[in-house]
């Protein structure tokens, strides 16, 4: 089930949230668990088994780990649990990629499995693993309640598209949480903002991307298509995170923030502190630092970064372009670490921003095209090689998209939020703020509903994550 559907918005959400509000505290997690499993099973009954098995494994591991004596045995046990988790993930992501590549390299005829990636597996595996590793490190005490642990892993707001919530983030709220009216109301606003980002901006950009990238390419169309994709992926992903955070608040949880105006970054290093924050901090905490981080000399640090970025690439999808996408960032981050950041610091801010935006722009081109043919023809078109500069159709597409591009550009910055806050300061008390925010939220929900029921383009981007 996706958030941006009439089914979720008008049936699942009100029923689940209302039941959660009126049920006594001790039944709440059981309700959330049941609701989450229903939410997950809606799209396909089959893959729920994988979700349950992995969660059960990590639950058991959490109970067993503290009983083992520190040392080799405990380490081996942890390694085995991690291998099971990552192995499942890697199998679904990479099996077909490797088989297909082997077939084309050695002209072999290995059968392709044709497995669909279980939705959300990249997210829930990482969440559950963070728990197991933290238990191993004695950072948290194991969760004894099956219901609480399963609720943590399957919690429907963040189950299929993040943010990646670590056990430590919501450990306390899992057993004891209150939903205050003001938290709920702030959740409503946050959810509405996310819904608007997804339905009004991301979907519209997706449609422009689709129109602009189909048919005869021109340089103008290639730039339109790539720009539309750049906006689509940001508003889709950050919109989904906003909806998850908002839903979390309605249920009494505080999920970590996932985006901080990434297109305002002044370097790629900065970009990755603002984009999908819970993923990069997960990799730092559970991969980069255990590998030794920057504590074992420059060469080792470079190697560690290489490993982290190769993994980040494949985390996003089982195709070679995602690996290249990860390595592209590895390369830039390396250069920034070695000398580029020092150079950038001396440049004016707008140059730094343009530098980051351009590099991010090309990273999304790499990200968008899984087939090399599509990728190369797009890159050629972007640089005007072998295609006309423009055509009537290109100008037509641009004219239809222009005002939306401007809206997306404005909403990629902190300016609308800052203006809103300034407006609120002029208004009276807290009560007036709540009412204004609610009015905005209801308007966005109304307009999003108008876009949704008309059956306009509403893709689901996370099937490959």
């Amino acid at each position: 089930m996706v958030f941006s559907s009439t089914l979720f918005l008008f049936l699942f959400l009100p029923v689940a949230v209302t039941l959660h509000l009126i049920l006594p505290g001790r039944c709440r997690n059981a309700l959330l668990l049941a609701a989450s499993l229903f939410f997950y099973a809606w799209g396909g009954v089959g893959y729920i088994i994988i979700l349950i098995v992995i969660t059960a494994l990590d639950y058991a591991a959490g109970l067993i780990l503290p009983r083992l004596h520190s040392g080799r045995g405990k380490k081996a046990f942890l390694a085995a649990v991690i291998a099971c988790n990552i192995g499942t993930l890697a199998f679904f992501k990479l099996a077909d990629l490797l088989l297909g590549t082997a077939n084309s390299l050695f002209s072999a005829d290995l059968p392709i499995l044709g497995l669909a990636l279980p939705i959300g597996i990249s997210f829930y595996t990482f969440q559950a693993l963070s728990y197991v590793i933290d238990v191993y490190r004695n950072k948290v005490s194991p969760q004894r309640s099956v219901i609480n642990f399963f609720t943590f892993v399957t919690l429907f707001p963040q189950l299929i598209a993040g943010p990646i919530v670590r056990y430590t983030d919501i450990e306390h709220e899992l057993s004891d949480r209150a939903v205050t009216p003001s938290a709920f109301a702030s959740g409503v606003s946050r959810f509405a903002i996310g819904l608007g980002k997804k339905v009004l901006l991301a979907n519209t950009m997706g449609e422009i991307f689709r129109t602009a990238s189909s048919g005869e390419l021109t340089t103008l169309l290639a730039w339109c298509a790539s720009l539309a994709y750049m906006f689509q992926i940001y508003f889709d992903f950050s919109g989904y995170s906003d909806m998850a955070i908002g839903l979390g608040r309605m249920l009494g949880f505080r999920f970590p923030e996932n985006f901080r105006y990434p297109y305002e970054a002044d370097s790629i290093t900065d970009f990755w502190r603002r984009w999908h924050i819970t993923l990069s901090s997960w990799f730092r905490e559970y991969l980069y630092i255990p590998l030794g981080g920057n504590r074992r000399g420059l060469l080792r640090q470079i190697l560690n970064l290489l490993i982290v970025w190769a993994c980040t690439g494949f985390w996003h999808g089982g195709a070679w372009n995602f690996l290249f996408w990860g390595l592209y960032f590895f390369l830039i981050l390396m250069l920034e670490k070695l000398f580029l950041l020092r150079v950038l610091e001396k440049l004016p801010m707008f140059v730094r921003r343009i530098y980051s935006l351009l590099l991010v722009f090309f990273s999304w081109v790499l990200f968008a095209w899984e087939d090399t043919e599509g990728l190369f023809s797009m890159i050629r078109a972007l640089f005007g090689v072998g295609v006309p500069l423009s055509s009537d159709r290109s100008v037509f597409v641009l004219l239809g998209a222009a005002s939306l591009f401007i809206i997306c550009a404005v909403f990629s910055t902190h300016i609308p939020a800052a203006l809103w806050r300034r407006g609120e300061q002029r208004l009276g008390g807290e009560g007036a703020h709540v009412i204004c925010r609610a009015a905005a939220a209801f308007s966005i929900i109304f307009l999003s509903t108008a876009f949704l029921v008309g059956g306009s383009y509403n893709p689901f981007l996370y099937f490959k994550f």
């Binding site: 089914l7 009216p181 409503v188 159709r393 004219l399 009560g431 709540v434 209801f442 509903t449 008309g454």
Partner: protein, 385 residues
């Protein structure tokens, strides 16, 4: 106590939020409709689950469609969505290109998609018409220009103009006779909310056809049968505040005309009587179906007062509004719509030889002809390839 008071606005907002969502959710189940008049399509009603459909996910998919199809005030919401897109500058909504007439009225066009294979397909189709003409039967091609080619100036700025491929292909020399009506006279020749031509547009094409074949065209005036026609282009982009189209018919004497139609499987015997003008369509959304009541694989139009000329027509829906003009010139008109014809090619060949037509007319809208893949194999079978 104090805190409660402080919380009041937030409490109200929370309750209102849930109440609004519940109202929408409950509304889905009330007042179910099985058809959308505005969009001219069937809607998904509440699907009944069974073990198989739930396990395969088919039921869930239908249920999701149900929740958006039966959403309360769906048409109004849809109109809001379309209006916002249009206001933000989008001139391509739901596959309809939205332009304006010189008078400031909205005129909608079919979207012209990029299709690198189009030129090749046009050539193949025209070659099959040519091959039929090569067998000795008099063959006429009438490609009705697409609305976007007629009203270029009404298209939104920089929108692609259709029909380039077919116009280029028709400039070569062919064995068949090409009728190219000039339809640039005024704004009333095509509907503004539908991709079809009007009876006036078809009337001008009829004059050009009669001239080319040496027939003397019947003079007609027009009679309005409906003033509230919103066509299929409007169904896809239901902008509010649009002036409806007017549906007119030519004043022809069709009292001696008999029409039989069907899918074509089983030949003439399987056909049933229909009306040349279907009054029922005037109560429905797609009022263009007034002409012949829609498309049939095989239709036979006979007029006992029109002599014994026989015309064989291969056509799309543009012919439905055109053939009434021909009923006074041919005693028998046999119409094949290749997209809907259900008989075999052998049956068709037998039918064709038996009819022994004086003339074959291929009548399509130009962009439809350029997209068609049914006609060329059918004509190929007829000309014995």
């Amino acid at each position: 106590m104090n805190e409660k008071k402080h919380d009041l606005p937030a409490r109200v907002v929370s309750i209102l939020f849930l109440a609004v969502l519940f109202a929408g959710g409950i509304g889905i189940f009330l007042f179910q409709k099985d058809k959308s008049e505005v969009e001219n399509r069937f809607l998904q009603t509440l699907p009944v689950p069974d073990a198989d459909s739930v396990l395969s996910g088919e039921w869930q998919e239908k249920f999701e469609t149900f929740t958006s199809d039966q959403f309360p005030f769906r048409d109004a919401f849809n109109a809001v969505g379309v209006t916002v897109r249009y206001a933000l500058g989008s001139r391509l909504v739901g596959g309809s290109v939205i332009g304006r007439t010189p008078d400031g009225e909205i005129r909608m066009f079919e979207e012209i998609t990029e299709d690198p294979k189009r030129a090749e397909r046009v050539e193949k189709t025209l070659a099959s018409v040519d091959a039929l003409a090569g067998t000795g039967v008099r063959t006429v091609l009438l490609a009705a220009p697409s609305a976007g080619a007629v009203y270029k100036d009404d298209l939104p700025a920089f929108a692609p103009v259709p029909d380039a491929e077919i116009n280029a292909a028709l400039s070569g020399s062919r064995k068949f006779l090409t009728v190219s009506p000039d339809l640039t006279a005024d704004e009333s020749l095509y509907f503004r909310t539908d991709h079809h031509w009007t009876a006036r547009g078809a009337g001008l094409a009829y004059r050009a056809y009669a001239e080319a074949l040496g027939l003397s065209p019947t003079e007609t005036s027009f009679e309005t049968v409906s003033t509230g026609f919103y066509g299929t282009l409007h169904s896809r982009a239901p902008l509010p505040f649009i002036k409806p189209d007017i549906l007119e018919v030519p004043t022809l004497d069709v009292s001696g005309v008999r029409v039989r139609a069907g899918g074509g499987f089983g030949g003439y015997d399987s056909l049933s009587d229909i009306d040349l003008y279907s009054k029922d369509a005037l109560d429905a959304k797609d009022k263009y179906q007034y002409f012949l009541g829609g498309n049939y694989g095989l239709a036979v139009i006979e007029n006992e007062t029109a002599g014994d000329g026989v015309l064989f027509v291969f056509k799309d829906s543009f012919a439905n509004c055109f053939v009434p003009y021909l009923t006074s010139h041919y005693g028998r008109i046999i119409m094949i719509d290749p997209r809907y014809y259900r008989g075999s090619y052998e049956d068709l060949r037998a039918l064709f030889l038996d009819a022994d037509p004086d003339c074959v007319l291929v009548l399509y809208e130009a962009s439809n002809l350029a997209a068609d893949t049914y006609l060329s194999p059918m004509l190929g079978a007829l000309s014995g390839e």
